[in-house]
């Protein structure tokens, strides 16, 4: 710089010697040159600043990647209860394409109950599941055979890639699936270079000659017909600059491109380019990068794309909306074929390959996986559980992979059941259409994992989530907690302890409260199990007051329902409020035999690079004596066989021997049913958002939906296994005393060891007493009762 100035000065001195006139003009030139140098200096500084900024911004660029929430993977094995339609549904959700012959991962063909699948590879937490060609047959609602087509081997288990339940997007709604440069298909890289920037690995960020050539072509044409941008320039433009077409922006672009090339490797720049580039729009979600575009257009992973698909995607770089293959298939086809020709010209593919690809259809996925989750209610639960430990912004931008407990098959069964039954209930009872609302949650008995959830009656409705947020009076659903509290005191209470159902008056702060039974009648002395099965209010209140409100509330807490409850006796009839998910928590503890597991919707969270961030393990904790819970569970089974839920009309559901409890609140404002089978707990609430009476009892509303759901899902029967401290003994049904084992009519009743009746009654004595009592027995009950059926016998007894 200094040397140049001296040089200039010398020349000026030489000119000064010529003439005064020239001296004047020399002064002017001097000023001109000085300002030129200053301008150049400023320009240099500006360009330097741009380059510095580009380096800084690119180097510290935090790519915002949405978090993905996956469902549980579908495990296929011979014997699994599943019908053709549910498998087809899951494959639809997984964006598997129905084809005639499976050729690429993510496709399937079906002939009746015979399926062939080409599964996609997937990196699971416990290892990578490779892509497999599977043949399976379904008959009579079960998978009958499963084999690997390529090896011919029978498979005992095959796991499909999990369905995407939804994503948590960055606020700018850009959706991208990060593809590492090292994992990008070489054909894609070469095609992008062939079409967009063939000298990418030779130039230094800009190609002056190309710019000039483009400039000339544009001047000749009078408009922009050609661009001379390198990939680096395109990346800079996408990342840092506006879409404005001006010389200034061009200079900025060039400076920044040079900077990136100076400080970063070619591969780093290429990786950024293939992930940044905009390739599609789906509502307010914009699809960036080839990884996501491949899913969006073809429902396939990038590495599974053939030459035709690669050509289509690369062709889209010219204008994703102009060549949108869904909206403008003809243009897209022409563009694809043009790219295929370029690929042949650059010897990337053989001419016959190109010809074949040119003859094939675009083969675009008809219904692209929506950016909006079809299961927003479940997503809400996942989000809330995550927000306890993560910042919302991290959740939306860190590309977390969240493995959830969601089971799409069960969710679909729940959605279908809710729609069918609610419409039928409204039509059958003359209720206005869509006047009822509903909340349903289904979990696993083993670990209390939420497998399905509906926060309202409309599937996919992201609105008010009643499962989580609607706290309503639970009515008789509270009663099992009262009876369990009693059964936990085996010295005082057994299943056959007589309870008093006669009228009672309770004084509360000067007022007198006298609870009434649902049928407005009193039933005298009833055995404990029957008071629960028939949901007698008065007996329950008497029992609850006897053992104490505090004890009942403590039991509720032990069952997993947190918080304090209003210390009013009316709480014994369910005047306390809970959300359906809290109810599920309570009933899951029954279902798991007294072992508490917190409700979970997440199994594990992984970083995008596959590193485990956090696991949410299955945990159990014995909160209540399994013996007492066992007795309660047997009584809750009678709720369905002989009690308030006996209207459950699905014979096939009855064969599962489920247990559960109905709940109805004052003036029929809320209709509840919570129950469980061998592996599923489900709670259903029906009511109105304005809290007006809905005219449904637990049995006429929620129970119907519950039964419908259970009839539609593959579930195991409830087999209660008596714990060590429980013994069943022969009881004489007339006196409630021990019977001689061989005595005809004696029944087996479970007791906590040590609480069994001590006295034994002889057969003959029993027979005479029975004869004396028999006129009181309702004849219809006698005809219904089965030999050795404890509960029918006991009905006759009391």
């Amino acid at each position: 710089m200094i040397i140049r100035s001296q040089d200039l000065k010398k020349k000026r001195t030489y000119k000064t010697a010529k003439s005064v006139k020239k001296k004047r003009s020399g002064t002017r030139r001097n000023i001109f040159l000085t300002s030129g140098v200053l301008g150049a200096l400023l320009l240099v500084l500006y360009i330097g600043y741009l380059g510095w900024e580009a380096r800084e911004r690119f180097g510290s660029k935090k790519w915002e990647l949405p978090a993905r929430v996956y469902a549980r993977p579908l495990e296929l094995y011979p014997g699994l209860a599943m019908n053709e339609a549910s498998l087809a549904n899951e494959l639809f959700l997984l964006s598997y394409r129905p084809v005639d012959r499976i050729a690429v991962p993510g496709s399937f063909s079906r002939k009746g109950g015979s399926f062939t699948l080409y599964s996609r590879p997937f990196a699971f937490p416990d290892g990578r599941e490779p892509s497999k060609k599977i043949r399976l047959t379904i008959a009579s609602g079960r998978i009958r055979s499963l084999s690997d087509i390529e090896t011919g081997e029978q498979l005992s288990l095959a796991r499909l890639d999990p369905a995407l339940v939804g994503s948590f997007y960055p606020t700018h709604h850009q959706d991208r699936l990060w593809v590492k440069f090292s994992e990008a298909p070489p054909l894609l890289i070469q095609t992008i270079m062939a079409v967009e920037d063939r000298d990418f690995y030779e130039h230094f960020g800009i190609k002056p000659l190309s710019i000039l050539r483009a400039l000339k072509a544009n001047i000749m044409a009078g408009k922009t017909v050609q661009g001379g941008s390198t990939l680096t320039q395109q990346l800079v433009k996408n990342l840092f600059l506006s879409r404005e077409k001006s010389l200034r922006r061009k200079i900025e672009e060039a400076a920044m491109a040079l900077s990136l090339e100076f400080f970063f490797t070619k591969d780093q720049i290429f990786e950024a380019y293939i992930n940044e580039v905009y390739l599609a729009q789906d509502g307010d979600r914009s699809i960036h990068g080839f990884g996501m575009a491949s899913r969006f257009y073809f429902g396939r992973a990038l590495e599974d794309l053939g030459a035709g698909e690669t050509a289509l995607l690369v062709g889209l770089l010219k204008g994703p909306s102009v060549y949108d293959p869904r909206k403008k298939p003809d243009r897209a086809l022409a563009r694809r074929n043009q790219v295929l020709k370029m690929m042949t010209r650059h010897k990337l593919i053989r001419p016959d390959e190109a010809n074949l690809a040119m003859k094939t259809r675009l083969d675009i996925l008809a219904g692209p996986p929506s950016g909006n989750s079809p299961f927003p209610a479940f997503m809400e639960l996942v989000k809330r559980q995550l927000l306890r430990e993560y910042e919302e912004n991290d959740l939306r931008t860190e590309g977390l992979r969240i493995f959830s407990t969601f089971d799409p098959q069960i969710q679909m069964a729940v959605e279908a059941s809710v729609t069918t039954e609610l419409n039928a209930i409204e039509a059958g009872r003359g209720l206005p259409k869509n006047s009822l609302e509903i909340a349903v949650v289904v979990t696993s008995t083993a670990g209390n994992e939420v497998v399905a959830l509906m926060g309202g009656r409309r599937p996919g409705d992201p609105g008010f989530n009643r499962v989580l947020d609607a706290r309503r009076a639970i009515g008789s659903l509270v009663k099992p907690a009262i009876y369990l509290s009693a059964l936990m005191k085996p010295r005082r209470f057994t299943l056959v302890t007589p309870l008093d159902d006669d009228p009672v008056e309770i004084k509360i702060a000067g007022d007198v409260w006298s609870p009434k039974n649902y049928d407005r009648r009193h039933h005298g002395t009833v055995p404990l199990y029957e008071a629960l099965a028939q949901s007698y209010n008065v007996a329950a209140v008497r029992l609850g007051m006897d053992i104490g409100l505090a004890t009942v509330f403590d039991t509720l807490n032990r069952l997993g329902v947190e918080g304090d409850f209003p210390a009013y006796p009316s709480a014994l009839l369910g005047a306390l409020e809970m959300s359906p998910i809290e109810v599920t928590q309570m009933y899951q503890t029954f279902a798991s035999g007294g072992f508490y597991s917190p409700v979970r919707s997440i199994q594990a969270v992984y970083r995008p690079d596959g590193e485990l961030l956090q696991r949410y393990p299955m945990t159990v904790r014995e909160h209540i004596d399994p013996g007492a819970v066992y007795l309660l569970n047997t009584a809750l089974q009678t709720v369905i066989t002989d009690g308030t839920a006996r209207s459950l009309d699905q014979g096939l559901v009855r064969r599962l021997a489920p247990a559960g409890k109905t709940g109805t609140t004052n003036d029929m404002r809320d209709s509840w049913f919570a129950g469980y089978t061998g592996d599923r707990v489900a709670a259903v609430w029906i009511g109105r958002d304005d809290n007006k009476p809905c005219g449904l009892s637990g049995a006429t509303g929620a129970l119907r939906v519950w039964g419908e759901i259970i009839s539609r899902i593959a579930t195991m029967p409830l087999t209660l296994i008596p714990p060590e401290n429980v013994a069943s003994i022969a009881i004489d049904p007339v006196t409630g005393l021990r019977a001689e084992a061989a005595c005809p009519g004696a029944v087996s009743v479970p007791f906590i060891r040590g609480s069994e009746p001590r006295k034994t009654v002889a057969c003959r004595q029993r027979a005479s007493e029975r004869a004396a009592k028999s006129p009181k027995m309702p004849p219809q009950r006698r005809s219904k009762s089965r030999p050795d059926d404890l509960f029918n016998w006991f009905k006759e007894l009391f």
Binding site: M1, G36, A40, I47, W52, E56, G59, S60, R72, E75, Y77, G79, A85, A88, N89, D126, S140, S145, Q154, S156, L258, S259, F263, N372, S373, P374, P376, E380, R384, Q385, R388, E389, Y390, M412, A416, E449, P462, F464, N465, L468, E582, G593, F595, P598, Q603, A604, V605, Q614, Y616, P617, T619, V620, L652, D679, S711, R712, A714, T715, P717, I721
Partner: protein, 205 residues
């Protein structure tokens, strides 16, 4: 002259600006603040919006017809004899579930033997989701927790296994031994001895 000056200035300026600034791109990840979830979600009012009500959700063949209903499970009845190829060798529910979960349990045990606790647990949970009432799997879960020195959870899992292990005194004995080990790990020697005594009683059956 002017052009070359400008070009030199440009290169010099850029060099001065950039040299010494280079560093690789850095990404950061969130760290959880709590290691385990607490029991239930806290109510919050914000929701994730935007379900697309216009698009059909699934093929119509399945929506609400009886087609989608799972036929009555006949777990206590043998499966129908299979004419086609099948790996189902045995004919009851528990037998064919066993055929599925046994390889998974073996795999989990292998992970455990290699000290890969996370993988061992993930695989055991996978098996448990398929066969939730399998006492052996609950025992395996306990074994993994014991290996992780999570004594409290190991004890609970052994108790859970015991609840389902009726009629299998050998497994009950193993569970009581696990309970004894867990109690000893927690420093409760007398309770551990009592548990060991129970194990002996089951062993002698």
């Amino acid at each position: 002259m002017k052009t070359s000056t400008l070009l030199e200035c440009l290169l010099l300026g850029m060099l001065i600006t950039f040299v010494g600034c280079a560093k690789p791109p850095v990404r950061s990840y969130p760290r959880p603040t709590v290691s385990h979830p607490s029991s239930r979600p806290q109510p919050q009012t914000d929701t994730i919006r935007g379900a697309d009500a216009e698009k059909p959700r699934w093929p119509t063949e399945t929506s609400s017809t009886a087609v989608n209903r799972i036929p009555p499970p006949a777990y206590n009845k043998p499966l129908e004899p299979l004419k086609t190829q099948s790996t189902v060798k045995s004919s009851t529910e528990s037998d064919y579930l066993l055929a599925v979960v046994t390889p998974l349990a073996d795999q989990s045990s292998r992970h455990l033997a290699n000290g890969e606790f996370e993988k061992a647990q993930t695989t055991a949970e996978r098996a448990l989701r398929i066969d939730p009432n399998n006492a052996e799997l609950w025992h395996l879960m306990g074994k993994i927790q014991l290996a992780c020195r999570n004594f409290s959870q190991a004890e609970q899992l052994a108790r859970k296994s015991n609840l389902l292990a009726k009629g299998n005194p050998q497994l009950q004995a193993r569970n009581w031994r696990m309970i004894a080990d867990s109690l000893r790990g927690k420093g409760d020697a007398s309770a551990a001895e009592a548990a060991l005594e129970k194990a002996r009683r089951f062993n002698s059956r």
